[in-house]
């Protein structure tokens, strides 16, 4: 088990090993839902929330059910089921008790199940042998990092909406180029803390 302080992991997962800029996770929704700030913020918050909780759930399931029974090879199926079940449950709870929030986030919730950042964080957690606290901070930090990434992208994209771009570059093309430039900027953080 790596001996890294959970807080270090927290900051590293926001800045130096950001889910989008250094691990390329959750790119599909990052590109398609980053046109406007409010929707981006909605999805980002939902991802942060689901990510924080599913990482912890998957940690518990992995270490207390799968490892004792020697079922590690089933991790993919189990993790994705835990995520899908949690999102489904969250959807039902929100529909019942937090109607406003449900309608605000409505369309994003099903999208989250197939957001690879969620599954990715759980898999990284297993590969890197994190402890419980490390996993918790890793989950929350990765979620916040993803939120930061999609918010800043939405901010930039709402500014360049009217820009006169070559037709072939509009939409995903320019988004990827901006992501590349942002990724370069984020490399600048790598001197601060490092996890791998």
């Amino acid at each position: 088990m790596p001996n890294i302080h959970p807080l270090v992991i927290f900051f590293a997962s926001i800045f130096t090993s950001n889910m989008v800029f250094s691990n390329f996770l959750g790119m599909c929704s990052f590109i398609s839902v980053s046109k406007e700030i409010p929707t981006a913020a909605g999805l980002g918050i939902a991802v942060t929330f689901v990510l924080s909780i599913t990482t912890v759930l998957n940690y518990l399931v992995y270490h207390y059910i799968m490892v004792p029974f020697g079922l590690e090879y089933l991790q993919y199926i189990v993790f994705i089921l835990v995520i899908a079940a949690f999102v489904q449950l969250l959807e039902m709870i929100m529909e019942r008790y937090m109607e406003q929030l449900y309608y605000a986030l409505g369309i994003f919730l099903p999208l989250i199940t197939v957001n690879c950042a969620i599954l990715g964080v759980s898999l990284f957690m297993v590969i890197r042998n994190y402890t419980f606290m490390q996993s918790l901070f890793f989950g929350v930090g990765s979620g916040l990092g993803w939120l930061l990434a999609i918010l800043s992208m939405a901010g930039i994209r709402s500014r360049i909406k009217e820009a006169n771009l070559p037709a072939g570059l509009r939409g995903p093309g320019i988004t990827l180029i901006i992501t590349g430039i942002m990724a370069m900027a984020f490399i600048g953080f790598s001197g601060i803390v490092q996890i791998s």
């Binding site: 390329f24 790119m27 993919y76 993790f79 990724a183």
Partner: protein, 211 residues
């Protein structure tokens, strides 16, 4: 299937060019970006995806009449994960180094939207064999783009192709290419070229149609 002839050529043309999942639909790009720093990684990843997409489309199509509509997605995810587990175990057994290099991205094939997309868009309403081919075509389209990206990144970043030195010693390695930004830039340039070409084609067709 008797009255409708299986149009293999059209399916492959669609998957590889006209409807290429990575370039035109911008799906499944997480792994496309992550594993393309080396040609070998991209090739293995691409083959794994061809295997999983093809067989999961096949299975989804086989079971389509027996799957209740409201748990359709769940069934599809289960089918896909089963094949991904096979791929993972295979890699761990026969190519442990590759398995380590690809890391979590093998598992992330499950959330690769290409597979789910083909299952939803094609396999759910088409016969098994056609679905198998359609899935494989989409997978090959993905592989082709991955190799194209990896070609540029590995050549400029390490000066090698498939690990074999190609560029002379004097060439400076362009480290940025093997770092994350390189992936974003190379893919966006491909998208730019492909889309501009398509826009030009469409404009030409419209002109021809009006005449």
């Amino acid at each position: 299937m008797a009255n409708k002839k299986l149009n293999v050529k059209a399916i492959f043309k669609n998957g590889l060019f006209a409807d290429n999942p990575v370039i035109f639909q911008i799906i499944g790009i997480c792994s496309a970006l992550a594993v393309t720093n080396l040609m070998m990684n991209s090739l293995i990843m691409g083959l794994a995806l061809v295997f999983v997409t093809g067989l999961s489309s096949f299975t989804v199509s086989l079971l389509k009449d027996r799957t209740p509509a409201h748990i359709r997605m769940l069934v599809q995810v289960l089918i896909i994960s089963a094949y991904v587990i096979i791929v993972n175990i295979f890699l761990q057994a026969y190519m442990p180094a590759m398995s380590k290099a690809l890391g979590p991205y093998v598992g992330l094939i499950i959330t690769n939207c290409i597979i789910m997309g083909r299952a939803e868009a094609y396999a759910i309403s088409n016969p098994p064999v056609a679905s198998l081919l359609d899935g494989m075509a989409a997978g090959l389209g993905y592989t082709a783009v991955l190799l194209a990206i990896a070609f540029v990144r590995e050549l400029l970043g390490f000066g090698t192709l498939f690990g074999i030195p190609v560029l002379p010693e004097s060439a400076t390695a362009w480290t940025l290419m093997i770092m994350p930004p390189g992936a974003f830039f190379v893919l966006s340039i491909y998208i730019w070229i492909a889309r501009s070409k398509r826009i030009k084609q469409e404009a030409a067709q419209e002109k021809g149609g009006q005449r």
